[in-house]
Amino acid sequence: MQLFKKLLNPLISCAPVLIGFILWETFAASTSTNFPPPSLWLASILKLNKNHQFYSALLETLWTFGIGLFIASFLGFVIGLLIGTSHTFKIWIAYVLEFFRCLPPPVIIPIAVLILGYSPTMKITVIVIASIWPILLNVVSAINQLGNGLFEMGKTLHLNRVDILRKLLIPAILPGFLIGISVAAPLAVIITLLIEMLTAMPGLGGLMIAGQRNFNASQVFGILIVVGIVGLAVNQLSLFLEKILLAYKPPKTQR
């Protein structure tokens, strides 16, 4: 009985999605141009895989996303640290930062296309510029929320600057930094797909837009599911990262 319940619960909680799929599969005509049944989605993905298009596109998208997010995290952390620790600089740069934060991230793509052309460098640059703001701003606000007590303790213990950075500052702002990454990661996925769609460069976004232009609805729906799985994996990964890195229980921030 216990085992039965354990198996039943996830089944019930996934029920709306499952029932939706089953209904779609049974009621959609296999010739439908707009709503092809899910079995055809799988078939079109397998067909793409046979042409060695699917796998390389998936790798291309994941690779660009990963590199872009990594560079954005690194730069966001370093620049955030520099801005956060200098009070004067922060005041001077506040409005400029606010403007860039409020600017919708996709508008960077046309600028980058004009300057860098259709290249992998352009893709990564756009991802970095678009996804750096949540990371940077979260690091800055995490530093702002630290009390003076932390630094006074460092002074009392005669720690030098490197030790203050390594032992006090970085552990204290790590939670904010990770929140920034978890906000930036979905954004980076969106931007990666958007660039591929706009420029029809290789990748999952490119495959989707190609499917749409050839009126191949089953390919579009198939890639949509793959993209959903990628999104879910990114989400789970950032939760996992948070769990591991914050295992040391960071100090409570005070105002």
Binding site: N9, I91, W92, V96, P106, L114, I115, L194, M208, L232
Partner: protein
């Protein structure tokens, strides 16, 4: 961070001026040939005549209207969904996993789907706006209901308040502060998604205008549109913050900090 964004931050305005001056002088001095980066003065020269054309205002209205309609639809569905999921544990059990499965799906992936289903139309744009803006509203409404104390549930039971009335007049208002946070997050998202939808699909509005100027190699006009969008982003954000402050004084700040 808040005190740095006050209206009295003159240094912040100075920062903007320095940024513009640096930009202008790098282009003017011309040590490196930036073929497609134009100076702020050229952008201003392209922007001011643009403000007088009806076309510009039509594009602006189109983007804002699409974002507003999509956002309102998402708000209505999201709040209803969030409150009912918050109040019925059975419903939550049924929907939670689907919610977690669908939430991380990148909204931009709906653009080709929308194009196939609706063609180049406002409906396609609304689909792209609606889907991603729904989740922050549902999530925040749900957590707003969860944070209510047991007293509220007891009160509903003691007075025998019917479920529908309880949802609208007790739980809804109690979760309002949290719902407002969700609405604010998704409002800025709605503008972003409208621009994305216009860039890929629906050939109208500011998003399309940016792509059009880029492909026509008019960098000054392109930058003018981009700066317009930045200003809109700031205005939308400020408007919602002020609105939330006005609607629930005190409460709003507590839930966001």
């Amino acid at each position: 961070m808040k005190q740095f964004f006050s209206y009295k931050n003159l240094a912040g305005i100075g920062g903007i001026l320095i940024f513009i001056l640096l930009w202008e002088s790098t282009i003017r001095l011309g040590s490196y040939d930036f073929e497609f980066i134009v100076s702020p003065s050229q952008i201003a020269a392209a922007w001011l005549p643009m403000l007088l054309t009806a076309n510009f205002w039509n594009e602006l209205t189109h983007t804002l209207t699409a974002a507003l309609i999509g956002w309102l639809l998402a708000a209505i569905c999201g709040i209803i969904l969030g409150i009912s999921m918050g109040l019925s544990s059975r419903l939550r059990q049924c929907l939670m996993a689907s919610f977690e499965l669908l939430r991380p799906l990148p909204g931009v992936a709906f653009a080709p789907v929308g194009l196939i289903l609706f063609g180049f139309s406002l409906k396609m744009e609304l689909l792209v706006i609606f889907f991603p803006t729904l989740w922050p509203i549902v999530g925040n409404t749900l957590s707003g209901i969860d944070q209510q104390s047991n007293r509220l549930h007891e009160l509903v039971k003691i007075y025998h308040i019917p479920p529908l009335q309880a949802a609208f007049s007790i739980y809804g208002p109690a979760a309002a502060a949290s719902i407002l946070v969700g609405l604010r997050i998704s409002a800025s998202l709605a503008v972003i998604m409208a621009v994305i939808a216009e860039m890929i699909g629906n050939p109208e509005g500011l998003g399309y205008a940016i792509i059009r100027e880029q492909q026509g190699l008019h960098p000054a006009e392109m930058f003018a549109y981009i700066i317009t969008l930045g200003v809109i982003g700031i205005l939308v954000n400020q408007l919602l913050i002020q609105l939330a402050k006005w609607l629930m004084p005190g409460q709003f700040l507590r839930t966001t900090s």
